[in-house]
Symmetry: C2
Subunit: 416 residues, 2 copies
């Protein structure tokens, strides 16, 4: 949580954090969004300075912003520094048009004014090549000690646990997303069936593309950003991240994997999957579905903050293997069976730490109080043309209990 930052900065021996904020779709740079909230700030830099040590440490947070965005910048609640103050154009001219040298000089002046020195960690998402050249130049010119944390960095660690305000936003994202799932189910049911496929009022075949357009409109109406969803049927459903073939018809009796992960505009995600068979399901699919649900329900009962997170993946593999399915634990390149991890954290990104995957793949740790994780076992049979996944979201509350945030009906068959 944000309140852990002073402590985490002391622990990582960091004097300051600099979060680069690129132009573009703001919320794709989520380390930046973590500090600026959902405001429409499309460029700038966040600087977090630590004052004091350990328990008595506190932080001062600044936003260097474009003068054109001063009103939006003011909404962030950060202390404001207008980039115009530094007259970048003059610095570029003094540097003989060398924009990299000018950026280094600009940084030197900014840090001097804000009192930033010592060990400084750099974060955010930015252009790979130019950012490497910039940080390399800061090191060469001895502006500060550049710290590049490879993983488990200060900001990821803070973000791994969510505070009350964040949980409220994620709850809201889940609630709105479940609304979209419900309306999509109702929409499917309004169609007639001819020769086993869904038909629209004008007599044309309903396609995956039509359903996706419906979902998209419903998301927009609910105020959700749509990064694209998975709505795939039959063989497509058996490839976990196949998003579906737009021209395919919707056929009764085939599995539909509907994995929807929108976010509140510029803010927090939900991540929910339902598997549906319209009209009826084959015995083979029903049996596989029951195994998936057995894993789902067993695991949601055992989630705790004591076990290592990979133990949950092990338990899932135990159940699947006992039921005769191949798993990724037995063979990393398995494509028929249980082929992925049990779940993952999310928040401002749709995939965040922690991860419930095989031992050794990710840092081996228990789940933490305040974490938000998915529980999403699945079975995939491209050779048989079906796939199944059921995914719900959980919050580990201050009592260490895992509350399910997503309660939408998990039935496999939707009567037509």
């Amino acid at each position: 949580m944000k309140k852990d930052l002073p402590h985490l900065m002391t622990q990582h021996n960091l004097d300051a954090l600099v979060i680069l904020g690129p132009d573009g779709l703001g919320a794709a740079n989520t380390a930046f969004t973590y500090f600026t909230g959902g405001t429409h700030v499309t460029q700038g830099t966040v600087v977090v300075k630590r004052v004091g040590q350990g328990d008595s440490a506190s932080i001062e947070s600044y936003l260097v912003h474009s003068p054109m965005e001063r009103d939006e910048a003011a909404k962030t609640g950060l202390q404001l520094v207008s980039a115009a103050h530094y007259k970048m154009q003059d610095i570029v001219l003094q540097a003989g048009g060398d924009r990299l040298a000018a950026r280094v000089e600009w940084t030197r002046r900014l840090f001097a004014d804000l009192g930033v020195k010592g060990r400084v960690g750099f974060y955010g998402a930015d252009s790979v090549g130019s950012t490497f050249a910039y940080l390399d130049a800061l090191i060469r010119e001895e502006v500060v000690e550049v710290v590049a944390e490879y993983e488990k960095d200060v900001i990821s660690q803070a973000r791994e646990t969510k505070d009350a305000q964040e949980v409220a936003l994620i709850r809201e994202a889940c609630r709105l997303t479940e609304g979209v799932i419900g309306r999509t189910r109702d929409y499917l049911r309004t169609h007639t069936v001819k020769d086993g496929v869904l038909i629209q009022a004008d007599g044309s075949t309903l396609t995956i593309g039509d359903v996706k357009a419906f979902i998209r409109r419903e998301e927009a109406a609910a105020g959700l950003d749509d990064p694209g969803c998975i709505f795939s049927i039959g063989r497509d459903a058996s490839v976990p991240h196949s998003s579906g073939t737009l021209i395919d018809p919707i056929r009764l009796g085939q599995t539909i994997v509907f994995d929807i992960f929108p976010r509140l505009a510029g803010s927090y995600y939900a991540d929910i999957t339902r598997t549906w068979c319209l009209g009826y399901a084959t015995d083979e699919v029903v049996q596989a579905y029951e195994t998936v649900m057995k894993v789902h329900d067993t695991l949601e009962q055992v989630f705790d903050t004591q076990r290592m997170s990979y133990e949950f993946q092990d338990m899932a593999c135990d159940i699947f293997e006992a039921a005769g399915h191949r798993t990724i634990r037995q063979d990393l390149s398995v494509t028929n069976g249980y082929v992925h991890g049990l779940g993952h954290g999310f928040g401002l990104d749709v995939h965040e730490p922690p991860s419930m995957s095989l031992r050794g793949v990710r840092p081996d740790e228990p789940l933490k109080t305040g974490t938000i994780v998915t529980n999403e076992p699945g079975l995939y049979y491209p050779d048989k043309g079906f796939g199944i996944r059921v995914e719900d979201d959980y919050w580990c509350n201050p009592q260490g209990l895992f509350e399910c945030l997503t309660t939408f009906d998990r039935s496999l068959v939707i009567p037509m």
Copy 2:
């Protein structure tokens, strides 16, 4: 254009390009999207290898993809390499759980298999700290010669000119966006007026938030991604990038700056601005609007591929200053007057090279055949509570002529 890549790679003395593709909202990593198209590939790495030199050079392009996304990966048309082939988990275990060391080893194996060696440029948008640590380790371990281009890198240079397929997508984005602008104008006009503000059918006041929700729904229905738009009125309109205050009413006679820049789902942007006054406009606003349009229309006549791009900004400043307005050329921190650049390129990003701004701020070059640029003069008077901007999009066609792609009615006053 993509076809320039072999030549550009020879010119930059690069043997290969590696484009890192992070998880998350795919299209925010546009260097990656440039190669993968609008497909739903959410992770992976693109490797472009140059074969031969100069005019006889060609490229081979690979996508290292997750096995879970193999169907989506196949749609990119790139040569496929499944990440599963390298058994990352085994490499992590061999590296004693050191995931950075494991990633370096993974890279070494991948490059050996693809025959990548020599000078390798790195691109894409990715997490700043971890990417720096990774590239630094590649250098230290002498895996390849890491080239970090600060600006005017190979991919940006290729992207600065658009091929026929890209222009067709941008035309389509413009057409759909103009549809949204038109429906928004019609929507405003359906409202009644009471005490100078717009009123909804239920008697409540129409707010900026209501209008933005309408725009959002219209964008979704048109298949456009919405990164948020600017719909700001009165004093807000006088701060160029203020996105508008959601609870504000819509008052007659005030300037509304409507700057809308959606993209085709996961693909190319449009970027259009209209300024409207509902019912009537004051003389002061009309006069300022005529000056803005004089700049707009004069500049669109003179755009060419001979002058340096900063000359167009100079011409715009000449006209504004002659009409008695302060400009950013006179004072970089001006807030009342003409406060920004004349225009910019766009494509997969809403801001791309080239830039028509002051001399020395950006590389001094002419506009190129194949470029797409905006023409967006404006006047801003926070002290008087109004702002004006009119923005259209142009393509420099193979004959070197600037075709306007956006023809939506530019009238200031919308009769109510």
